[in-house]
Symmetry: C2
Subunit: 261 residues, 2 copies
């Protein structure tokens, strides 16, 4: 059986190979809010931080973005930083920037190496995806190629194709997040994840969102997801559970799974 | 979407309709051991007790079995009692009784109404199943028709057929418990449960056992299982988790599922 692949940074598995990594989002509107969030979250010891820059009022000021990302990195110490602009099309906050300005922003962020991973959507223009791919690679930053559907869960074949498309595009990590309309949809997402684990070589991140999907944030790692997103101070997507609770349940399951057969 | 059906006893949903019911097994070898187990478990407030009579050294003494079952019932008060002889073929303890003696034992237990539910295996002789069906019905006792595979997880179609066979046989509740050999097998069991919830009219109990299956003891209710078996003092099957932990995780999930979308 295939093993859930770990995310490696500079040749070392993140958080010593812990599975899954618990990632806390930063969703403040201002520099002060983001830094206050960070200060509240760090004592909960997330394994990864995601800065959702689409929530940041200063997103139009490249120098302010780079400076804040660098500050987060410095304050976070060993905890890697994932830099994410979620498009409004895929559930993010509306921003005033055009797509070419967003590309420019990512170029500046990569050039200054003020993050460790960058999220870029598979649904973006192929040329843009290639360009971000080149910039992350040149900077030694990992590229997470992501697919989100906040309305529904596409069929198994479509989900399998989205995971595979991320690998084909040269991403270091494939991420799929979809909304279930029934408990069966939750199983479809987990099946697609297990299949991608068998068929692909790169690490995966997956989750089913919303109420029914909550359980995937606790058990998705059993099926191949290397990361679970959990609430540090405020959530960034429906169905997220507080870090402390996610850690407690994963610890319980891992103890049960190691226990007498 | 279909709702997970609750188990009703004498016209009332058990434990006020709580979902899932948490069932603690009693697996003592002697009367003293069983009663000590019961005393240790009751403060943990299980919703259901299962006496696994195949563990009981006195199983050959019908009067001793009926008397102990009646004592458990009296001590347990409102908590219903499920009476289960698991055959060694389906993972139970070896016993010295022949099948006709086991039938006689069940006749005596039903006649004295010293339990609230009886488990009987679908894989037993059809005539025996019918007879137990008649005796439970006459006594107002619920019949759980069960299927276990401690070696593997049969394909989805086979599992679906086992659930349906329980309903066809006139059971009040259908139970399916199987061993996974991969995480995908766990999804197959949950899919079969979700399908049985759509297609059948009776309540369901299902679980995937062992290490990978542990998670179904926490999330199976989302897909249609009305009962989860948890460790009170000692487990009765691989993968069972302590009652306190099961309750904590289910409570967390239910809060997450009710939370902001």
């Amino acid at each position: 059986m295939s093993e859930t692949r770990r995310i490696e940074l500079r040749g070392e598995p993140v958080a010593g190979g812990k599975l899954p990594l618990v990632c806390a989002p930063l969703v403040g509107r201002t520099r002060d809010e983001v830094l206050a969030e960070l200060a509240a979250i760090l004592p909960k010891r997330p394994d990864l931080l995601e800065w959702r820059v689409d929530f940041f009022d200063g997103i139009g000021d490249t120098a302010a973005v780079v400076d804040l990302a660098a500050t987060i990195q410095r304050v976070a110490g060993e905890t890697p930083l994932l830099f994410t602009r979620r498009s409004s099309r895929e559930g993010g906050e509306p921003i005033a920037l055009g797509e070419q300005q967003v590309i420019e922003l990512h170029r500046a962020v990569c050039a200054s190496r003020c993050c460790d991973l960058v999220d870029w959507e598979l649904g973006s223009a192929p040329d843009d995806l290639r360009r971000v791919r080149e910039e992350t690679r040149a900077a030694g930053i990992l590229l997470v190629a992501s697919f989100h559907d906040f309305e529904r869960t596409p069929p198994l074949e479509v989900l399998a194709d989205r995971f595979a498309a991320a690998e084909r595009a040269g991403a270091d990590i494939a991420k799929v997040a979809v909304m279930p309309r029934s408990p069966e949809d939750v199983l479809t997402l987990l099946q697609a994840t297990a299949r991608a684990r068998r068929e692909l070589r790169i690490p995966l991140i997956s989750m089913s969102m919303g109420a029914y999907g909550s359980l995937t944030r606790l058990v998705g790692w059993v099926f191949g997801s290397a990361v679970t997103f959990a609430v540090g101070k405020a959530g960034s997507a429906p169905g997220q559970i507080p870090i402390e609770d996610v850690n407690a349940v994963i610890d319980l399951l891992q103890r049960s799974m190691r226990g007498p057969p």
